[in-house]
């Protein structure tokens, strides 16, 4: 506690630190909200300038950008069905339908509050138990557990957004298959980027890098939304959503308390695991909210709990992601890898000794993350009062801007036109997916987790000498696999018995 107070005093007692804190907060939110750029863009631009900064200022800046950036993407997800980052994709499922129903204020209000709550809770646990949790998580989670967790994540998320269980699984399999394009993760063998089929020769240098999930997300959500709205304009059926400034009431928050708590726990544990992070956290949080809800049929049609689940989980993952970085020197994602780079630039090595050698730096970072998450409430409230007015602009005027933002976002990723082709193709496919009951979310989830899952499976097989039952000799892996198998079995049982399954993101 004393360390936290000292960290807070060090942060707010230093005008330079306060300026950097404010810059990181606003910059992270803005970059998180614009699809063409993201918090990684801001991080990459700022990284060289950190050489001349004090190490505690530099690490604090990136930590604040991380917290604010994860929240920032929720705004465009809710207002325009464009997730600013992959971890905001599940926010679209209910956030955008709420906007269509004229409840954008409530959706953004819920996103703001839950991001803050998730982030603050995560920061508190991070402060209390970093060395303990990091040591446990990294020792206990090997490739077997990571594969089992991914399998569990896919099992519980498969039916999200799909009309039936089968369509959900087919969507996930299609996503996993798309993820195999590029190179094999074990031996680096090129896959699906050249050869012949039925006498037809083809070769593509660009496919060697694989299909990136960002153009797919932009296509499935943003471009297909423009297509859908354009069709309804052509048919004369489109109604403009009303801008609303109404925040969720305390009663509404109370009604989603368990969703919030569940997403907090799920987000936290997903955040600790290297490479899993906020994206799976958000999907897991959302799918579990659907699973435990008494009214699952309302998800995907503008259910407040959907926004709450996704945004609480993804922000809970931010504090958790700092745990393996600070305690063990293991970055879990791109932004935490940049923070690792800052440590190295300044001649420091994150790890257990950092709590002894650079205690000031650690506590200023912890305090900054805590206060950044609290500030999200205030800044988010301001955003709610201002940004929702964009909805008063006719959609037909916004559509070219949305398409251009998506185009630039897809292109800027790797400077490849093929990414833009992929995005528009995904947009056209997404348009038909919405009408045939398949799940765009399932494809995206399969694509995001596919490579990681295959890599974890291959490593597990090598470690277990190709004995599949070896998974069951490790308690956590066994627990997750059994839970996943039970989930699949119960879903099939429900489907066969003709019960109405959760139907989210059809529209």
């Amino acid at each position: 506690m004393i360390e936290f107070v000292n960290g807070t005093l060090a942060l707010f007692g230093d005008p330079t630190a306060v300026m950097i804190f404010g810059f990181g907060l606003i910059g992270g939110m803005l970059f998180g909200a614009i699809p063409g750029v993201n918090m990684l863009t801001l991080g990459a631009v700022l990284l060289p300038f950190t050489i001349n900064m004090a190490p505690n200022h530099a690490v604090m800046l990136f930590s604040v950008i991380y917290c604010a950036g994860v929240f920032g993407g929720a705004i465009t997800a809710i207002l325009f069905n464009i997730p600013g980052a992959p971890e905001n994709a599940p926010t679209c499922f209910d956030g955008y339908p709420m906007t269509v129903q004229g409840k954008s204020g409530k959706a953004i209000g819920a996103a703001v509050s839950c991001s803050a709550i998730g982030g603050v809770a995560s920061a508190v646990v991070m402060m209390a138990a970093t060395p303990l949790i990091a040591g446990w998580a990294v020792r206990a989670f090997g490739p077997q557990e990571i594969f089992a967790l991914i399998f569990f994540g896919l099992a519980v998320s498969a039916s999200v957004g799909a009309e039936t269980l089968w369509k959900g699984w087919l969507s996930v399999f299609a996503g996993l298959l798309i993820a195999t394009i590029g190179t094999d993760p074990v031996g680096g063998v090129p896959r699906f980027n050249g050869g012949s089929v039925m006498g037809f020769e083809f070769s593509s240098y660009y496919l060697s890098a694989g299909i990136h999930f960002i153009p797919m997300i932009l296509g499935f959500f943003a471009v297909s939304e423009v297509f859908v709205q354009a069709m309804s304009i052509a048919e004369g059926k489109r109604k403009r959503p009303k801008a609303s400034l109404e925040f969720p009431s305390l009663v509404e928050f109370w009604s989603v308390r368990f969703t919030m708590l569940r997403s907090m726990v799920l987000g936290f544990f997903a955040g600790i695991l290297p490479g899993i992070g906020a994206t799976l956290a958000a999907f897991l949080g959302y799918s579990q909210a659907v699973r435990w809800s008494k009214t699952p049929e309302r998800f995907g049609k503008g259910e407040l709990a959907g926004v709450v689940a996704s945004e609480t989980a993804n922000n809970s993952a931010t504090g958790a992601a700092m745990i393996p970085l600070l305690a063990l020197g293991l970055p879990g994602g791109a932004l935490t890898a940049m923070i690792m780079g800052i440590f190295q630039i300044h001649g420091m090595e994150p790890g257990p000794l950092i709590f002894i050698n650079s205690s000031d730096l650690v506590w200023v970072t912890f305090a900054a993350m805590f206060w950044a998450n609290l500030c999200i409430v205030f800044l988010g409230w301001l955003q709610t009062k201002t940004v929702v007015h964009i909805l008063n602009v006719p959609f037909r005027w916004l559509a070219p801007g949305i398409l251009l933002l998506a185009t630039i976002g897809a292109f800027a990723l790797r400077n490849l036109t093929i990414d833009v082709w992929v995005m528009f193709l995904a947009g056209a496919i997404g348009f038909f997916l919405r009408r045939t009951g398949y799940s765009a979310a399932g494809i995206v989830l399969g694509l995001i987790l596919g490579k990681l899952g295959e890599s974890a499976f291959a490593k597990s097989m090598q470690l277990m000498d190709y004995d599949v039952f070896g998974f069951f000799s490790r308690p956590i892996a066994a627990f997750l696999l059994i839970a996943a198998l039970l989930t699949v079995a119960s879903s099939i049982w429900n489907e066969v018995r003709g019960r109405e399954l959760q139907k989210a993101l059809i529209d």
Partner: protein, 201 residues
């Protein structure tokens, strides 16, 4: 065949989606063909990897099998579920009976729909040739026209504002190296626009 999409705001979009998914059998055939084609493609990289006995093609092949299994399970489920009950002698479910008939679209509306889908691809096709900076204002105009914006004032002002903002954000503030075209005159024009926007930087 048509499909109804009940939107959250109470609107019902009814869109004809063509014969591709008109029956569960065709849907099954689509997935089987996809899985079969992908499986055939795996032969191109079916090579062993040292210390990994499943090789590069093992994982994609399992996924192809899973796709085929999922599609077959879906077909089985749909066929068994679609059997007419005694109370439905015609074989139509209540949902099908209540389904709204798709609107008959005029040729203009059909062309408008086709245009909405085709325009982004045309834009993408010409962009590497004539450059992003030249193609974009025409793209914005085309989309606005397809979305039934007819006022000259709206067309010019929206194009100017959107194009201006894109130039300001992605060329002046955060330089994103967008395509400048392969045709010489367009290449020069694109570079002139970039130089103009970045004047003083």
């Amino acid at each position: 065949m048509s499909s109804s999409d009940n939107r959250p705001d109470g609107q019902t979009l009814t869109v004809s989606i063509g014969p591709l998914f008109s029956t569960p059998v065709l849907e099954w055939l689509f997935w089987l063909m996809l899985a079969g084609m992908v499986y055939a493609l795996t032969d191109n990289f079916d090579e062993p990897i040292a210390e990994y006995q499943f090789g590069a093609s093992g994982w994609p092949r399992v996924l192809c099998a899973a796709l085929a299994f999922g599609a077959t399970a879906q077909l089985f489920y749909k066929l068994t579920r679609k059997r007419p009950g005694p109370e439905e002698p015609s074989g139509k479910s209540a949902d099908q009976a209540n389904e709204v008939a798709p609107p008959i679209l005029s040729l203009r509306a059909k062309l408008q729909r086709a245009g909405v889908f085709a325009t982004p691809f045309v834009y993408l096709y010409v962009m590497p040739e004539i450059g992003f900076y030249v193609a974009t204002p025409f793209f914005i105009l085309a989309i606005l026209l397809l979305l039934e914006v007819r006022s000259i004032k709206a067309l010019t002002s929206v194009t100017a504002v959107v194009y201006g903002l894109v130039l300001l954000i992605f060329t002046r503030f955060f330089y994103v190296a967008l395509p400048v075209g392969r045709i010489e005159s367009f290449y020069d024009l694109n570079n002139w626009i970039i130089a103009f926007v970045r004047t003083g930087m």
